[in-house]
């Protein structure tokens, strides 16, 4: 068993980055995720593992520092919250286009605009539908616990390098701030420069006489060439859809009704499931862990066995579109959401199930 600690979600992200052998973290303070960089700075990772931690002048600079670091094959990460993540969209698009591995953590707060500093899931569309310009996707993990904040960092780095793509961890202000028990994974040593060069022959690490120069770019002025780039990206996204879907089902085997929820909402739905079951309502929970690739096939299989589905999100109805795309008109699908930083209570959610799905 790994080392056990009581940690905040944001601290777990930071500790996991060090343990995952991250080479560089570049960030900018924003509530409710500032503890990530605060923890890193306090840990002196330059002494612990040699990891670089730099407070940039803006989120625009941090994401472009990621682009620079990733383009040289190093393991790099940033974290921010919604307004800051909006500023990073250009850089994420460039990294998707240039096929660069990096991990971006969004500890979501309520919007739009400066919004609020309270938790929200209103950035679902931005995370899974592209966010920045151009036809791209990235793998999006939705942790529902402090444990998963840690686990998903390690996983995100693995997948970022496996697919040469930016990967996002879509968390929220509650999971970032709350404290839970975490079993930390054993540290992975940072790769040496020689190991980076061997593992990333595509990276711009300094051209030895034995190969042509490497160029990291997302530019191809020839449309035929740019179409090829796009086709390659799309092929990669199909591979992710085949191989990277993650989800969890709770009490779905006998379920007549279904909650579909991710992240913090799934935690609330777990309690709402207990409340409804105590009343004799056979409800289960389907929790997508990857939001892209979305568990379309799996939701269709489980969802088509029930009488109605309530999609619970801390937004005005975003993931519900993907649930509807998965199931078509076969099942009644309704949405329950609170926004602007309000966390719905389990009672509220159980009541919504009765009103919108069972009674409706």
């Amino acid at each position: 068993m790994g080392e056990l600690r009581l940690m905040k979600g944001n601290e777990a992200i930071a500790e996991a980055a060090i343990r995952a052998g991250c080479d560089g973290y570049f960030g900018y303070p924003i509530t409710p995720q500032s503890e990530v960089m605060e923890y890193l700075m306090a840990e002196k990772p330059h002494e612990r593992t040699g990891m670089v931690v730099l407070q940039a002048e803006s989120e625009v600079a941090s994401i472009n520092m990621l682009y620079g670091g990733a383009g040289t094959g190093k393991k790099v990460m940033t974290s921010s919250s919604s307004p800051g993540i909006s500023l990073m969209q250009e850089g994420i698009s460039y990294m998707a286009g240039a096929e660069l591995p990096a991990v971006v953590v969004n500890v979501v707060r309520g919007g739009p605009g400066l919004g609020t500093i309270q938790p929200s899931q209103a950035d679902y569309f931005q995370a899974v539908k592209g966010g920045g310009h151009g036809d791209y996707k990235m793998i999006v993990y939705a942790p529902a616990s402090v444990q998963e904040m840690s686990d998903h960092v390690k996983l995100a780095f693995d997948k970022a390098f496996q697919y040469r793509t930016p990967v996002m961890i879509l968390s929220d202000g509650a999971i970032g701030q709350m404290m839970e028990k975490v079993e930390l994974f054993d540290p992975i040593p940072r790769r040496t420069d020689e190991e980076v060069i061997a593992a990333c022959p595509w990276a711009s690490t300094g051209r030895p006489k034995t190969r042509n120069h490497n160029i990291i770019t997302s530019l191809d002025l020839d449309p035929a060439g740019q179409e090829k780039v796009n086709l390659k990206l799309q092929e990669k996204y199909r591979m992710m859809e085949q191989n990277e879907v993650m989800y969890e089902e709770i009490m779905t085997s006998d379920a007549e009704y279904l909650f579909v929820a991710f992240g913090l909402s799934a935690r609330i739905c777990q309690k709402a499931t207990d409340i409804a079951r105590a009343k004799g309502i056979k409800v289960g929970l389907f929790r997508p862990i990857t939001l892209f690739p979305f568990p379309t096939v799996q939701i269709a299989a489980t969802g088509s066995r029930v009488k109605g589905i309530l999609v619970v999100e801390m937004n005005a109805g975003q993931m519900i579109e993907d649930v509807r795309l998965s199931l078509g008109c076969k099942v009644k699908i309704e949405h329950f959401g609170r926004f602007g930083g309000i966390i719905p209570s389990p009672d509220e959610v159980a009541k919504a199930l009765e009103q919108k799905i069972i009674g409706g």
């Binding site: 670089v52 730099l54 620079g68 040289t72 850089g91 160029i215």
Partner: protein, 267 residues
Amino acid sequence: MEELFAKPDIRKPENIVYRKSDLMVDRPLSYCPGCGHGTVHRMLMEVIEEMDIAEQTIGVSPVGCSVLAYDFLNIDMLGAAHGRAPALATAIKRLWPHRFVFTYQGDGDLAAIGTAETIHACNRGENITIIFINNGIYGMTGGQMAPTTLLGMRSSTSPYGRDVEHMGHPIKMTELIAHLPGVNFVTRQSVHTPVNARRTKKAIRKGFEIQKAKQGLSFIEVVSNCNSGWKMTPVQSNKWMEENMFPFYPLGDIKVDGKLVEKKENE
């Protein structure tokens, strides 16, 4: 010319008086004939070749006319988003402290959209070299007004000439940068004559030597022409540059060894 190439017997080592740097990729440059970019590319690659550091050098190209610089420079390169080259270079240098890292940026890239990244990379004293090509215009997008466009100068977005009331002042980024404590060496050069090209090369060499000695950031501005954007012949544009650009952007060292160069009374 063809006759010359048809005489292989004269192509002997002892007859060579001028040759392309081996670090220049053997392909036609995408720059307009008469543009200074090609000369700066050459000076840069000659320095890297002479210092024998091609294997240890990572370059960052901008968005602008030199967006394709990586196609011509036979070293490992990254193409940055518009204005962000100093952010890329910061991360690269910190993650690869033993590599030589440079950015190559135009005036729109460095002095408009990338102002924040430029100033903060300089102020942190990142141990990199920034090469700043200032031709007072957005060349690649078709000759729009740049932050460095002179007052009265015409461009496609200042068709009656730049005026202060509507368009504000041109910015002297290089003088601004010189005052930042993390910056070791700041100079302004040109490449429109062989003498000036040699001075630019010397400045670039100095920048890379400063990196080698880990003494902070070096910032080399090259005031250059844009005959296409200025709508002049190359010869006219160089004359216009001497008469109009140099008085506002005077050539010479501005900061050496971390100290501002004192200006003489009559300057």
